[in-house]
């Protein structure tokens, strides 16, 4: 019987059925960071437990690192205590730590793929909901809580119920100026922020076949914003080409065996899905959010909703969102003044994101009064941007070019909105207060749309600002 990748990976990693009917699932690769792991190590100590497979856990530091200060101690003593605690835990339990001195530090969902740790046909867990990113490689990757981090550290397994699988096809061709970020914002808009509850999303179709690994990562990254615990793309030649030669990728004779093994995990033709959704790529426009969850999105040329035209729950949601965002009912989103432009995060902080923006940003200037920051997702991305002169393009335009970290995506570090500042952001969440100010406002969009907002000082159509069709 033909099987989906999800079924195959699940079956290969299922250890046994637990008393409550859940599966004890082997987690082949465990990624940790400084925010959600310290309590888990504390629990291990309390129970006098060891780490079962220390060589299968990898650590980095991302959420709390300042992006404008490399030297330690950090100005924030709490942040300083957290990085020291992670160092202590990794040293004590024998875990590889991509610390800042290694040149390999960065956002956990950028570091894993970059190092070749993220591989097809594997299970991955991390105490971070954007772990779904790693599904881009044909891995099944779960965001987990701290008690489950303890479980994975102590046993390399966790208890989990099997998910259903929804296949999402995006066929045809994306129009110029439409990016992977628009694809996932569009998917969440039509399926809803809880549409994926109980599902893993399998993304496919012509658009995904053509996508680079970094584009696939952008989409898989935001699966959780649609309520899906995991999202993945079947591995193919693009996947293997990306992995070849990376530090943790198999070498020599093992490489061919690994590729054959990886290939075997791809969904079989004719396998059954619990649900199938098909989208025409031509229907996807540059998409921006107008509200306070990632499903509240519209195309750049639409108007924000008017609560008078909807009823019930939706009216309440629209009213709450518009009041928070200080937007007028039925107003065009285009032209809304912004205060901050943020380019980075685990969604859009990879080399290709900066490369694409730099192509258009050359010779342009950030609008007066706009604070614009560009934050590479890893030290590796930062180095590549420097080699290619990309950082220079951003700096010349008036962006601040920073050190690697999560930065303004979630404001656990000094990069925060102030008051009710409005931020054009390439990150993944526009929740109330997400970017650090309880009244701060976020509009999610693709990196090129962030650049368009930065240079015009308003929410703008990047296709017009940069004459995208002519390039």
């Amino acid at each position: 019987m033909p099987k989906s990748l999800f079924q195959k990976v699940w079956d290969a990693h299922a250890v046994r059925t637990l008393a409550n009917g859940q599966t004890q699932l082997l987690i082949g690769t465990h990624l940790i960071h400084e925010v959600t792991s310290p309590q888990a190590f504390g629990m291990l100590r309390d129970l006098s437990l060891k780490v079962a497979m220390p060589h299968r856990t990898f650590a980095t530091v991302d959420h709390i690192v300042p992006t404008d200060q490399f030297a330690e101690p950090f100005a924030d003593p709490l942040a300083d205590a957290m990085i020291k605690e992670l160092r202590r835990n990794c040293a004590e339990f024998g875990i590889t730590f991509f610390d800042r001195s290694t040149g390999k530090q960065g956002i956990v969902h950028i570091v894993g793929p970059e190092q070749g740790i993220t591989q097809p046909g594997t299970t991955i867990a991390c105490g971070d909901s954007h772990t779904s990113t790693h599904g881009a490689f044909g891995a099944i990757a779960f965001g987990i809580g701290t008690t489950q981090i303890r479980d994975v550290l102590a046993t390399q397994t966790m208890a989990l119920g099997r998910l259903k699988v929804r296949r999402i096809n995006v066929n045809g061709r994306l129009r110029p100026g439409v990016y992977a970020k628009d694809v996932i914002l569009h998917i969440i808009r039509i399926l809803g922020v809880n549409g994926g509850t109980g599902y893993a999303y399998e993304y496919g179709g012509e658009v995904f076949d053509r996508f680079t690994m970094e584009e696939r990562m952008t989409v898989c990254n935001m699966s959780i914003e649609g309520g899906a615990r995991a999202g993945y793309v079947n591995p193919d030649e693009t996947t293997y080409a990306y992995l070849k030669g990376r530090p943790y990728s198999p070498k020599g004779a093992q490489w061919d065996a690994a590729v054959a093994h990886w290939r075997s995990f791809a969904s079989d033709p004719g396998c059954s899905y619990d649900d199938v959704v098909t989208i025409d790529a031509a229907d996807i426009a540059p998409t921006v959010t107008w509200g306070i969850n990632p499903g509240q999105g519209i195309s750049i040329n639409e108007r924000v909703p008017d609560p008078q035209t909807v009823s019930g729950d939706e009216r309440t949601s629209v009213e709450e969102a518009l009041a928070y965002m200080k937007l007028q009912p039925g107003a065009p989103i285009k032209g809304t003044r912004i205060d901050v432009a943020f380019m980075g995060s685990c969604t859009n902080g990879r080399l290709s994101d900066f490369q694409e923006v730099a192509r258009f940003l050359k010779g342009r200037k950030v609008a007066p009064g706009v604070k614009a920051i560009a934050v590479p997702g890893s030290q590796g991305v930062g180095v590549l941007c420097a080699e290619l002169g990309i950082d220079r393009v951003f700096r010349d335009a008036g962006f601040e070019w920073r050190e690697a970290g999560c930065s303004m995506c979630l404001a656990m570090n000094p990069d925060k909105l102030v008051g009710d500042q409005l931020c054009a952001s390439s990150s993944n969440r526009n929740f109330k207060g997400r970017q650090g100010s309880p009244t701060g406002r976020t509009i999610l969009m693709s990196p090129l749309m962030v650049a368009a907002a930065a240079v015009t000082g308003t929410v703008a159509d990047a296709r017009e600002v940069f004459a995208v069709a002519d390039r």
Partner: protein, 200 residues
């Protein structure tokens, strides 16, 4: 490591209305700069409960009549967003022992079970009835019955559900899986041995 068998939760309830209440709202990220979960309770719903100067905003949790409530009532997709266990930890440390909503985000739901916090799903109109009764009499005792899959309050009964694996874990006192997971050691080794990438 005997765990409590959580077959029911009884206590006073408070209704925090709204859909898609995310984990950033439950516990803003800046309060996660900590290496233990101690003290998170006081920051529960902080930015919607407190003004910048620390004074109270209008919020059900700030109303004296709802102090001491142990059951939290809410809307659809409660706990969406981040996987931070800090969210259910803050809920528990504030004093809540159960949550009733129209629906839950998955990671949050699982994190709650692991801490022994039942998350029961009820229909909107039924949650509204409980909320109405509690609003009229904040002292009213509300009982979540995990065996009968119902919620009782002031002589009324409404249906409530809980995913079977989680209900089983709670009522049988195995909601913290660590013991059972550790018991699987030999089976873990056998499964790992079949996967080439796990060779040391």
């Amino acid at each position: 490591m005997a765990l409590a068998k959580i077959t029911s939760v009884s206590g006073r309830a408070v209704y925090v209305p709204g859909n898609d209440i995310d984990t950033d709202r439950i516990i803003p990220a800046r309060f996660m700069k900590c290496v233990t979960f101690d003290g998170l309770g006081e920051f529960l719903f902080y930015d919607v409960r407190k003004n910048a100067d620390g004074s109270d905003k209008a919020h059900p949790l700030n109303e004296a009549r709802f102090k001491g409530a142990t059951i939290l009532l809410s809307g659809l997709n409660f706990g969406c967003g981040s996987s931070r266990e800090h969210a259910p930890q803050a809920i528990q440390k504030y004093g809540f022992r159960a949550v009733v909503a129209e629906g839950f985000a998955e990671i949050f739901f699982g994190n709650c079970t692991t801490l022994g916090i039942p998350c029961m799903v009820a229909k909107r109109e039924d949650i509204a009835r409980i909320a109405e009764a509690v609003n009229a009499n904040p002292q009213l005792e509300v009982t979540l019955d995990l065996d009968a899959r119902e919620i009782r309050f002031g002589g009324q009964v409404v249906k409530a559900t809980l995913r079977e694996s989680d209900r089983d874990a709670l009522v049988n006192g195995r909601w913290d899986a660590i013991g059972e997971l550790l018991d699987g050691r030999s089976a873990i080794q056998a499964t790992a041995a079949k996967l080439p990438y796990l060779a040391a």
